[in-house]
Structure formats: structure tokens, C-alpha cells
Amino acid sequence: MNKKTAHELNNLLVNKKISSVELTKAVLDRIDKTEGKVQAYVTVTREDALKQAKAADSRISELPDTRIPLLTGIPIAIKDNMCTKGVLTTCSSKILANYIPPYNATVVEKIKAAGAVIVGKANMDEFAMGSSTENSGLHPTYNPWDLERVPGGSSGGSAAAVAANECILATGSDTGGSIRQPASFCGVVGFKPTYGRVSRYGLIAFASSLDQIGPLTKDVTDTAILMNVLVGYDPKDSTSVNQPVPDYQKALIDNVKNLKIGYIKELLGQGIDQEVKASIEQAMKKLEELGAKLIEVSMPSFEHAVATYYLIAPAEASSNLARYDGVKFGHRSKEAKDLLTMYYNTRREGFGAEVKRRIMLGTYALSAGYYDAYYLKALKVRTLIKQDFDRAFMKYDVLLSPTAPSIAFKFGEKTADPLAMYISDIATIPINLAGLPAISLPCGFSKKAPIGLQIIGRAFDEETVLRAAFTYEQNTDWHKQIPEL
């Protein structure tokens, strides 16, 4: 039953065909069975999960069917950069290996209030910096479709856990593609909402102006259901938007007639794997058959998006990560005879190579004499990228591209050259720079590894994105494929 989606399981739970305790046990059993291969989790909260499941079961028996929240009793994995009060939250970093948050992230509060059962904390690239989960400071996660391949990142643990049926759904965070790219690599659905839709309070910051939390699920319906739980204004987050929130399940309409879809020329040309390109073109054909209008659109500024991102994100990160200094929480070096030595050694021992690299890059981009040439320049190019999107959305309802230029790569394939790894984020990064909503959903396979289709929407128009994705999904069956493990 752990192979089912949340909406299928909700039916079984409400009709008392199964109990949440049974379901949670099934998920925990699956974890026991496959976690040795996948390593999707940093922490499995076994006892706590069973307690929550019991509470969910009594809630189901007490409440009238219509008043039971849809996620009641459904096992969920939380990316380990979202604070869980009293439960280890490491951000997959040695520097936070012992950190027990004194508070819950707003999304964790919401998930708990919705009755979902938290089964554990999912592995990730350390501080969400990476595209393969190879940068986890604790251990790598393996792609359930092919254990020689990476699951993507940084939400690699979340995506792998969903794909391996080690949970029903999961949360991820997306700064430059960290939900969508692992969703694409693991053959699941991943959605990054508009910046400001979901509260970032309690999300351990990587790059504050780009970070956004979103769902990783087995299908688009579950994405809409989890979106309904996650979104909403939070007075604790000054950048969360105080706007009415629609019911995303109502956006699940199997109809794209006359929907104007712009496919991004720059993301279907050079540097894109041929099989990926072929799958995307298949998907475009499918959407056209279903009544959508597909038109090519050029986004000239995309050429500069990676460079822009790799100045802005590390700059913000260099400041966000200053608090890991051995004073208040987390790791403190034993070699700390004075304050400066403590700083140097704590941060040397606690951070992994990629985190150090980005702290260095960001510190440099902000430092005296370089600010204007690098950081400020990047903020201006960010405006140009936003303008490209504004122009495109005057004509098209949604935009389309592959989520990643390739299928999941093999371990070690890109670790030697950070720049090559960065460039592979080309299709997802521009969306974060512009703060827009975008989804990745399965649209094919190459070498038995999944391929992801990305659909991008206007700011706050998650509904059209969901509608297009839902229509495509309802008329294909890629999302029903399950990896053999």
C-alpha cells in the first residue's frame, strides 16, 4: 500500500479499509528493506511516526468523513533543512550534526496540523548546495532507478524516498532547481511555488531571495493536495505574500484546449541530451494533440542565468552561513584555544568542500572592490532575466522546457569540475531568479532513467501550471512507472 498515492490512501483510510498505523508500518518496513540501498534518510523517526499514526487513526474515527483533512495519517518525509522541534535537523552538514531545533518550521506546523505522519528527515546536499546529493556531509543517496546514478539534488533524499516508496510524499526546497531536478532524476513530480507562496520560516537558509519550499509527490494530484497544506501567508516571514490562496485541487482540470505554451528555444538546443530532447518533443506533441498551442519562444538572457545565480546565491549563502561559528549551537572544534582559532577550525571541520567553495565565492563577490562588478551586476542581470519572462508571459500562459539537460548522471561524473555541475542547472535556475512557479513531471526514460518535463507559470499562477501538468499526466502513464529495487 506504500506504493499508492496520498489521494488513493486517503480514500482507504477514511473508509477504514486500512489504518494509518498499518500504513506507517508498511512505510517503515519498506525503509528497513530498501534504505540500505537508497539511503534517502538522515533520521527515521520511527516511534514518533507510530505515535502520530495512532493519533491520526483516532482522529479519523472521531471526525465525520468530510472534516478529516486529506493528509490525515499519510506518511511524509521532511527535507532535513526544515526545523523540527526536538528532532535532529542537520541540513546534512557535520556542523549541525547534533542540532536539535527549539522550534518548528511553519511548514512543519502546517503538516502536523494537517494530520500527516512525519516518518523522517530526508538527506540532501549539505545546506542545499548541490545537484546530486553527493555533497551531503553525512552520506550520499542513491537513485532508486539505478543505484549507480545520483538522485539529483539538493532534495535528493526526498525525491529518492518518494520514488522508492519509502514515504508517500515529501517536502523539498528549491533554490536553483533543488526540487525539480531531483524529481526529474527520480521520476516523481516536484513543484516549486512562486517565491513568497510558502513560508520560509524554519527553512535553514541557503540563498534567502531564491529559496522556496514545495512538494515532491507521486502524481500531480498529490502535489495539489500538499500545496494546499503548505501555502499561505505567514506573519513570521516578511517575504511571504499576503494574498488569497486558491484551492489547488480545483485547478486539476484535464483540459489544455487553446492553452498557449511557449517552448524555450535556448533549452532545447545545444547542451541538451538528444534522448531528453526527443522525450520533450514527444510531450510537446502530446500536448498539441490535447489542444494546446505550442509556439517557440526565445529567452536570450538565459545564457547569463547560471553566472548570475552563482554570484547571487553564494553571496547570500556566505552571510547566511556565518552563524555556524561554534558559539551557540552545532559543532565546535576541540582545537579552540582562542576565539579566532575556534572560528577557523570549527568552520573548517564542519563544512564540506562545496559549502566552503560557495562561502568563498560569495564572500569574494561581496568584498570591497568587487561588489559592483559581481554582486550588483548580477542583481541587474537578474532584472533582465525577469524582463524576458515578463515579455514571454504577455503572449503565453505557460512555458515549457526539459527540467534538466540530461538524465541522472553517475556518481563522481561531475564532482571534479564544479562549473560543469553548475551549468547542468541551466533549465531550472532562471525560474528561481524570477521567483516563478514551475513543476517537473515524468515524461519518459532514457537508459532506464527518468526524464522530467518542466512547466513554468506566471507569478502566483500555480493553477495553470497544475492544469497543464495534470492534463499531460492524465493522458500519459509515465508517473505510474515504479523502479525495481
Partner: protein, 481 residues
């Protein structure tokens, strides 16, 4: 060679809010260490700041009172540096786009009124407190303990133009600023308690030069007097070094109030590179006209406006008016008196003269003194009626202030009523004349001015109680007949 001193001041004032700048923790003083803290102000992973509206309003209030331009949009930035009392590794402050710019504050120094420019007023958060163990100072201590209770307390930073020309002026500026901040209810402005802090920049140049000399930055002055003393020391040091043909090196120096000297930090000072950038977790503050106007009108009459009204309506000198408005309570006291008795000039003289001298000597404010406008007016009216002399009134004032008794009681107890009974005075006059035959002779010989001496003798005999006008009149009568 003659030198000129150039001083600029950077003042930090704690805003009178209930809660901190970006979280709900109380700003109250004196709590047990690390009890007024929360995830936000201790920089726990994942927390986010939300700006305190009252802090913005108090800053706008200050900016209005300092005649500043409120900027249409101001932006919080991160000032990045490592220190254990700074839990996030950056201080949220305003940098490129401050809340307000381009104002001024008037001060009175040696009878002259000087306008000191204000470059900017901006908001920021305070750091925590470090307690250094094993020694009195940072250097040499075995370890330090950090208390985050104060972390995140809202501050305004007020940066003056380098318009100040002497240590005395600097101290007066600080006092005037403190008075103003208290006056408008923005800050209790106590340097000794740290709610008002100041760093000073001082440089010295040849008189007449338009270029600035190399400046040093002074820290750790915990009173108005300390500001003056630190600057005096530094002014002397600069002047001597320059006169010797030496060079001042740009550095930060600490004031030691036990020796009244300043010391540079030992060792090479790392060049600061704060890597400011816009705080992505906060959005711009853009006060619209309506909001600013609402704050302005709630602010009521500003000290400067009040000063101008005192000059126009009560015909006070600009100096007297300035001194009266320096403290809100003093100005209020004055106005209450004028309502009771329309003699503003005389009232102002009493307040700024004997009353203020008494208060200053005892380091009291007018509110702390046991004295009301009704009492002062009563005193003035008794002089007018001739019940007491002006001179006695001064003694009465002190007695009233000291004892807290009523004016009437003080006068009655000490029998200080003026002697205006002619019969009694005639007898005293006659005995004075009998005792001073020489002076009587001189008078009769035409030296009529000698009468002043004789009046004095009468006053002496009556212990000052004789009505001097009447004494004069009777003396003339007796001498001329």
C-alpha cells in the same frame, strides 16, 4: 601655527519599544542572562526577522525632530562580521538607503547658537553583551560569556556632519540630542546606562584649511563629560603630534575614564570589510506621506517651534527661549507659570537663574524637585506686593526647595516679611542717623549719593527686611528736615 579641531559624532540611541527590533522578546533591562531571548534573536538556523512598526515610527519621529528628509524608500542591509555577541554573523542595519538624511540640530555654546548638520538617521539592531572572565578587560581574559538579552534591541544611529569645532561643543551637542530624544519620547537617553552611546571622529587641521586632517575614532565614552574629556585628550594629542611634524594614523582608540586618556588597539588592526548587501529577508520600508504626517501631528509642537513661539508670544530673548526648551519639563513649567501670571520675562529669569542653579548643583530635574509653578508665581507676586524683597525671595526659594514647605510657611517661620510699617522704620532710621554722624554731615554738605550707604545700614539693621523704597523715603524726610 594655529589649529582647528573638526569633530563628527555617531550616536546610537535605544528606542523606547516594548519588544525587540525583529522579534517579540522584551527589551526590558536587568533580566537574568539569556532569558529575554528566542530562536530569532539568537540566530537559530531557519529563523526570519519581522520589523517592529513602533521602531520605525520612533525613528521617523526622531528624523522629523532633527529636520531631516524622510527618504521615500529605505532598505535594511546586512553588515557582515564575526563576533560572539552577534549571533547571526551579521548586524541588520541600514546602509546605502537610510531612513532619513540631511537634517540639523541647534545647540547653544557660550551664548551662540550653532547649527550642527545631521547626515543621516538610520535603524539597526543592537548586539549582545560579552562578559570577560579572568581579567577586567577583553585582552587577557581566560574566556568570555555571552548574554543575548540585549541582542536585537532597536537602535537608531544618528550621524552628524563634521560641524563640531571643540570638545565642549561635542558635549553640548550630545546633551542637546539627549534632551531632544527624551523630549519626543524616543529614548530615555542615559549615557551612563548605555541607552545613549556615542563614537566620535576627531581630526585637526591648520586653521583656514578646507581639507580634513587624518581622523581617529574614539569609543567607550560613557557620559557627556567623558565625551568631552576623551576629545580634549585627543585634540591635544593630535595638535602636539602635528606641531612636532609627526603624522596621525587613522585608527580606533578607546577612552579610559580612570586616566582620561585614549589608547589605540594593540597590534595591527584588520581592515574592516563588512560586505554590506541588501537584507533579502526583509522588504523595503517606504513611509508614505500620510503615515509621516500622522507621526508628525502626533509629535505635537517640536522644541524648535516652541522656541520660536516663546520668542514671538512672550518676547523672550532667543537664548532664554532656547534654554527653556532644552528640557521639555522646564518648558512646560515655564508655560504653566505664564498661564498663572503674565510676566514671562521675570518668570524666565527665575527659572533659568536661581531655580536652574539650584537644580544643577544637585543634579536634579525640575520634575524631581519639590516645586510647582504655583509656588514660583506666588513668590513673584509677593515681591510685587512688597511683602518680601527680591533679595529675600531668593533665600525663600532655596528654603522652599530644600524643605518642600509652602512659600507662605517659609516666610512666616523665618519672619522674613518685608518691614513696611512706617512707625517702626522711622525709629530705626533715626538710630542709624545717630550712629553715623559723619555721613549725615557729608549729605548735608551736598554729597546726596551717600544716602545709598545709609539705606544699606537700615537694611543691615533689619536683616534685609526693610522695604528699601520706604527706607529711602524716610531717610530723605529725616535728613531734609
Amino acid at each position: 601655527m594655529s589649529y582647528e579641531t573638526v569633530i563628527g559624532l555617531e550616536t546610537h540611541a535605544q528606542l523606547a519599544t516594548e519588544s525587540k527590533m525583529f522579534c517579540g522578546c522584551p527589551t526590558k533591562f536587568g533580566a537574568k542572562p539569556n532569558t529575554n531571548i528566542c530562536p530569532v534573536c539568537t540566530g537559530q538556523p531557519g529563523v526570519l526577522p519581522v520589523t517592529n512598526k513602533k521602531a520605525i515610527e520612533l525613528a521617523i519621529k526622531t528624523a522629523i525632530a532633527l529636520n531631516c528628509k524622510i527618504e521615500p524608500q529605505s532598505v535594511f542591509a546586512r553588515k557582515n562580521y564575526f563576533y560572539p555577541d552577534l549571533p547571526k554573523g551579521y548586524q541588520v542595519s541600514q546602509y546605502e538607503l537610510p531612513l532619513a538624511t540631511n537634517g540639523h540640530l541647534e545647540i547653544e555654546v557660550g551664548g551662540n547658537i550653532r547649527k550642527i548638520g545631521i547626515i543621516r538617521v538610520h535603524l539597526e539592531e543592537d548586539a549582545g553583551k560579552s562578559i570577560h572572565q579572568g581579567a577586567g578587560r577583553i585582552l587577557g581574559s581566560a574566556s568570555s560569556l555571552i548574554d543575548y538579552n540585549r541582542t536585537g534591541t532597536p537602535l537608531i544611529e544618528i550621524v552628524s556632519e563634521p560641524d563640531i569645532r571643540s570638545p565642549k561643543e561635542a558635549a553640548v551637542f550630545m546633551q542637546a540630542l539627549a534632551n531632544l530624544l527624551q523630549y519626543i519620547g524616543v529614548c530615555d537617553a542615559k549615557m551612563e546606562e548605555g541607552s545613549l552611546r556615542c563614537d566620535a571622529n576627531l581630526s585637526v587641521r591648520e586653521r583656514g584649511s578646507s581639507e580634513f586632517g587624518v581622523r581617529t575614532e574614539l569609543k567607550n565614552m560613557n557620559s557627556f563629560k567623558a565625551v568631552e574629556k576623551a576629545l580634549l585628550f585627543e585634540e591635544k594629542r593630535h595638535t602636539e603630534v602635528l606641531a612636532d611634524g609627526g603624522k596621525i594614523s587613522q585608527e580606533t582608540r578607546f577612552f579610559d575614564d580612570t586616566t582620561n586618556t585614549t589608547h589605540g588597539m594593540r597590534g595591527k588592526e584588520e581592515a574592516h570589510d563588512y560586505r554590506y548587501f541588501p537584507e533579502p529577508d526583509l522588504v523595503p520600508v517606504a513611509p508614505d506621506k500620510k503615515w509621516v504626517e500622522a507621526i508628525r501631528s502626533a509629535l505635537g509642537e517640536l522644541p524648535e517651534e516652541r522656541k520660536n513661539r516663546f520668542i514671538a508670544n512672550h518676547r523672550l530673548s532667543s537664548n532664554d527661549a532656547f534654554l527653556l526648551i532644552s528640557q521639555r519639563a522646564t518648558a512646560d513649567f515655564f508655560e504653566e507659570c505664564v498661564i498663572l501670571l503674565n510676566k514671562p520675562k521675570i518668570i524666565a529669569n527665575w527659572i533659568l537663574g536661581d531655580l536652574q542653579a539650584y537644580l544643577n548643583a544637585r543634579n536634579l530635574t525640575i520634575k524631581q524637585a519639590n516645586f510647582s509653578p504655583v509656588q514660583l508665581v506666588e513668590l513673584i507676586q509677593l515681591i510685587d506686593k512688597g511683602t518680601i524683597s527680591g533679595k529675600i525671595a531668593k533665600t525663600v526659594l532655596i528654603k522652599v526647595l530644600e524643605t518642600g514647605n509652602s512659600v507662605k510657611d517659609v516666610i512666616a517661620e523665618s519672619g522674613m516679611t518685608q518691614m513696611s510699617d512706617e512707625g517702626t522704620l522711622v525709629k530705626i532710621v533715626q538710630s542709624v542717623l545717630a550712629a553715623n554722624p559723619k555721613q549725615v554731615e557729608q549729605y548735608k554738605a551736598g554729597k546726596t549719593t551717600i544716602i545709598a550707604f545709609l539705606v544699606g545700614q537700615v537694611m543691615k539693621e533689619t536683616k534685609g527686611r526693610a522695604n528699601p523704597g520706604l527706607a529711602n523715603k524716610i531717610l530723605k524726610q529725616e535728613l531734609d528736615t
